[in-house]
Protein backbone atom coordinates (compact mmCIF):
# COMPACT_ATOMS: atom_id res chain seq x y z
CA UNK A 1 0.00 0.00 0.00
CA UNK A 2 2.87 2.38 0.68
CA UNK A 3 6.12 3.09 -1.10
CA UNK A 4 8.25 3.36 2.07
CA UNK A 5 10.96 5.14 0.10
CA UNK A 6 11.68 7.86 2.64
CA UNK A 7 11.76 5.46 5.58
CA UNK A 8 13.85 2.68 4.10
CA UNK A 9 16.37 5.29 3.02
CA UNK A 10 16.92 6.58 6.57
CA UNK A 11 15.53 4.09 9.12
CA UNK A 12 16.90 5.89 12.20
CA UNK A 13 15.11 9.01 11.03
CA UNK A 14 11.84 7.08 10.68
CA UNK A 15 12.04 5.76 14.25
CA UNK A 16 12.83 9.25 15.58
CA UNK A 17 9.93 10.73 13.62
CA UNK A 18 7.46 8.22 15.12
CA UNK A 19 8.67 9.05 18.61
CA UNK A 20 8.30 12.80 17.95
CA UNK A 21 4.75 12.23 16.68
CA UNK A 22 3.94 10.16 19.79
CA UNK A 23 5.36 12.89 22.06
CA UNK A 24 3.25 15.49 20.22
CA UNK A 25 0.11 13.37 20.66
CA UNK A 26 0.86 12.93 24.37
CA UNK A 27 1.48 16.68 24.79
CA UNK A 28 -1.81 17.60 23.08
CA UNK A 29 -3.66 15.09 25.28
CA UNK A 30 -2.14 16.59 28.44
CA UNK A 31 -3.17 20.08 27.26
CA UNK A 32 -6.70 18.77 26.65
CA UNK A 33 -6.91 17.24 30.12
CA UNK A 34 -5.63 20.50 31.63
CA UNK A 35 -8.19 22.47 29.64
CA UNK A 36 -10.99 20.19 30.82
CA UNK A 37 -10.23 21.29 34.40
CA UNK A 38 -10.06 25.00 33.51
CA UNK A 39 -13.08 27.35 33.72
CA UNK A 40 -13.46 27.98 29.97
CA UNK A 41 -16.53 29.16 28.07
CA UNK A 42 -18.29 25.96 26.96
CA UNK A 43 -18.53 26.83 23.26
CA UNK A 44 -14.85 27.85 23.13
CA UNK A 45 -13.77 24.70 24.95
CA UNK A 46 -15.85 22.49 22.66
CA UNK A 47 -14.36 24.12 19.56
CA UNK A 48 -10.82 23.73 20.90
CA UNK A 49 -11.38 20.09 21.92
CA UNK A 50 -12.73 19.25 18.46
CA UNK A 51 -9.80 21.04 16.79
CA UNK A 52 -7.27 19.18 18.98
CA UNK A 53 -9.07 15.91 18.30
CA UNK A 54 -8.92 16.51 14.55
CA UNK A 55 -5.23 17.42 14.80
CA UNK A 56 -4.43 14.22 16.73
CA UNK A 57 -6.42 12.02 14.34
CA UNK A 58 -4.66 13.66 11.39
CA UNK A 59 -1.24 12.95 12.92
CA UNK A 60 -2.09 9.27 13.49
CA UNK A 61 -3.49 8.81 9.99
CA UNK A 62 -0.72 10.71 8.23
CA UNK A 63 2.25 9.19 10.08
CA UNK A 64 1.24 5.94 11.83
CA UNK A 65 -1.05 4.82 8.98
CA UNK A 66 1.37 6.24 6.36
CA UNK A 67 -1.30 8.16 4.47
CA UNK A 68 1.17 10.90 3.57
CA UNK A 69 3.23 8.35 1.60
CA UNK A 70 0.19 6.91 -0.18
CA UNK A 71 -1.62 7.93 -3.33
CA UNK A 72 -3.71 11.12 -3.06
CA UNK A 73 -6.83 9.07 -3.79
CA UNK A 74 -6.56 7.51 -0.29
CA UNK A 75 -6.33 11.00 1.20
CA UNK A 76 -9.51 11.93 -0.64
CA UNK A 77 -11.24 8.75 0.60
CA UNK A 78 -10.27 9.63 4.18
CA UNK A 79 -11.20 13.31 3.89
CA UNK A 80 -14.62 12.91 2.28
CA UNK A 81 -16.34 11.37 5.36
CA UNK A 82 -14.71 13.98 7.62
CA UNK A 83 -16.05 16.79 5.46
CA UNK A 84 -19.50 15.17 5.37
CA UNK A 85 -19.57 14.66 9.15
CA UNK A 86 -18.55 18.29 9.75
CA UNK A 87 -21.15 19.54 7.26
CA UNK A 88 -23.99 17.43 8.68
CA UNK A 89 -23.01 18.21 12.29
CA UNK A 90 -23.01 21.93 11.50
CA UNK A 91 -26.42 21.65 9.84
CA UNK A 92 -27.81 19.70 12.82
CA UNK A 93 -26.42 22.22 15.32
CA UNK A 94 -27.89 25.09 13.27
CA UNK A 95 -31.20 23.29 13.17
CA UNK A 96 -31.12 22.59 16.92
CA UNK A 97 -30.19 26.20 17.60
CA UNK A 98 -33.28 27.38 15.75
CA UNK A 99 -35.62 25.52 18.10
Amino acid sequence: MTTHSAETARPAHAMRRYIVVFATLAAITLIEIGMSQAPLVASLATGLFLAFSLAKATLVVMFFMHLREDSRIYTAIFLLPVVLVLAFSTLMLMSAGGH
Binding site: P11, E32, I33, T46, S53, M65
Partner: protein
Protein backbone atom coordinates in the same frame (compact mmCIF):
# COMPACT_ATOMS: atom_id res chain seq x y z
CA UNK B 1 4.37 0.60 19.32
CA UNK B 2 2.72 -1.14 16.34
CA UNK B 3 4.30 1.28 13.90
CA UNK B 4 7.69 0.81 15.57
CA UNK B 5 7.24 -2.94 15.09
CA UNK B 6 6.50 -2.39 11.41
CA UNK B 7 9.55 -0.15 11.05
CA UNK B 8 11.67 -2.80 12.80
CA UNK B 9 10.69 -5.58 10.41
CA UNK B 10 11.17 -3.22 7.44
CA UNK B 11 14.76 -3.04 8.67
CA UNK B 12 14.83 -6.83 9.01
CA UNK B 13 14.97 -6.76 12.82
CA UNK B 14 12.68 -9.62 13.85
CA UNK B 15 13.54 -9.46 17.55
CA UNK B 16 12.46 -5.83 17.83
CA UNK B 17 9.30 -6.63 15.87
CA UNK B 18 8.39 -9.23 18.49
CA UNK B 19 9.27 -6.82 21.33
CA UNK B 20 7.16 -3.97 19.96
CA UNK B 21 4.20 -6.23 19.15
CA UNK B 22 4.41 -7.65 22.67
CA UNK B 23 4.38 -4.11 24.07
CA UNK B 24 1.41 -3.29 21.83
CA UNK B 25 -0.55 -6.29 23.12
CA UNK B 26 0.40 -5.47 26.72
CA UNK B 27 -0.72 -1.83 26.44
CA UNK B 28 -3.94 -2.94 24.75
CA UNK B 29 -4.57 -5.39 27.59
CA UNK B 30 -3.91 -2.61 30.14
CA UNK B 31 -6.44 -0.42 28.35
CA UNK B 32 -9.00 -3.24 28.57
CA UNK B 33 -8.22 -3.70 32.25
CA UNK B 34 -8.88 0.02 32.78
CA UNK B 35 -12.18 -0.30 30.96
CA UNK B 36 -13.26 -3.25 33.09
CA UNK B 37 -12.40 -1.25 36.24
CA UNK B 38 -14.31 1.79 34.96
CA UNK B 39 -17.34 -0.30 33.95
CA UNK B 40 -17.40 -1.95 37.37
CA UNK B 41 -17.09 1.41 39.14
CA UNK B 42 -19.95 2.93 37.13
CA UNK B 43 -22.12 -0.15 37.69
CA UNK B 44 -21.40 0.20 41.40
CA UNK B 45 -22.71 3.77 41.19
CA UNK B 46 -25.90 2.54 39.53
CA UNK B 47 -24.96 3.58 35.98
CA UNK B 48 -25.71 0.67 33.67
CA UNK B 49 -26.60 0.04 30.02
CA UNK B 50 -30.29 0.49 30.79
CA UNK B 51 -30.20 3.09 33.57
CA UNK B 52 -30.17 6.24 31.43
CA UNK B 53 -29.44 7.68 28.00
CA UNK B 54 -25.91 8.45 29.20
CA UNK B 55 -25.45 4.87 30.41
CA UNK B 56 -26.71 3.41 27.12
CA UNK B 57 -24.52 5.75 25.04
CA UNK B 58 -21.45 5.32 27.23
CA UNK B 59 -21.50 1.53 27.48
CA UNK B 60 -22.42 1.04 23.82
CA UNK B 61 -19.71 3.33 22.46
CA UNK B 62 -16.91 2.31 24.84
CA UNK B 63 -18.02 -1.34 24.89
CA UNK B 64 -17.81 -1.70 21.12
CA UNK B 65 -14.50 0.11 21.15
CA UNK B 66 -13.24 -2.26 23.83
CA UNK B 67 -14.33 -5.20 21.68
CA UNK B 68 -12.26 -3.83 18.79
CA UNK B 69 -9.28 -3.37 21.11
CA UNK B 70 -9.69 -6.99 22.26
CA UNK B 71 -9.67 -8.12 18.61
CA UNK B 72 -6.55 -5.98 18.11
CA UNK B 73 -4.79 -7.56 21.10
CA UNK B 74 -5.51 -11.06 19.77
CA UNK B 75 -4.37 -9.99 16.28
CA UNK B 76 -1.18 -8.47 17.75
CA UNK B 77 -0.41 -11.74 19.54
CA UNK B 78 -1.07 -13.78 16.38
CA UNK B 79 1.19 -11.43 14.38
CA UNK B 80 3.80 -11.67 17.14
CA UNK B 81 3.68 -15.46 16.95
CA UNK B 82 4.12 -15.43 13.18
CA UNK B 83 6.94 -12.91 13.50
CA UNK B 84 8.71 -15.05 16.08
CA UNK B 85 8.48 -18.03 13.72
CA UNK B 86 10.13 -16.01 10.92
CA UNK B 87 7.01 -15.43 8.83
CA UNK B 88 7.94 -11.78 8.16
CA UNK B 89 11.08 -10.22 6.71
CA UNK B 90 12.27 -6.88 5.33
CA UNK B 91 10.75 -7.83 1.99
CA UNK B 92 7.50 -9.26 3.35
CA UNK B 93 5.82 -6.96 5.85
CA UNK B 94 2.21 -6.99 4.62
CA UNK B 95 0.85 -8.97 7.59
CA UNK B 96 2.38 -6.52 10.07
CA UNK B 97 1.24 -3.53 8.02
CA UNK B 98 -2.36 -4.84 7.86
CA UNK B 99 -2.42 -5.25 11.65
CA UNK B 100 -0.88 -1.78 12.09
CA UNK B 101 -3.55 -0.16 9.91
CA UNK B 102 -6.31 -1.84 11.96
CA UNK B 103 -4.71 -0.94 15.28
CA UNK B 104 -4.18 2.70 14.42
CA UNK B 105 -7.68 3.01 12.99
CA UNK B 106 -8.99 1.82 16.37
CA UNK B 107 -6.63 4.44 17.84
CA UNK B 108 -8.26 7.19 15.71
CA UNK B 109 -11.71 6.05 16.85
CA UNK B 110 -10.58 6.34 20.48
CA UNK B 111 -9.28 9.88 19.89
CA UNK B 112 -12.79 10.88 18.79
CA UNK B 113 -14.56 8.91 21.57
CA UNK B 114 -12.24 10.30 24.26
CA UNK B 115 -13.00 13.85 23.14
CA UNK B 116 -16.76 13.36 22.91
CA UNK B 117 -17.24 11.27 26.07
CA UNK B 118 -14.59 12.49 28.50
CA UNK B 119 -13.76 16.06 27.43
CA UNK B 120 -16.94 17.59 25.96
Amino acid sequence: MAVLGLESIRQGDRRRLVTFLGATALLGALFLGGQVYEFASLAGDGITLTSSVFGSSFFTLTGFHGLHVLIGVVWALLTLGKGARGRYSAGDTMGVEAFGLYWHFVDVVWIVLFTIIYLI
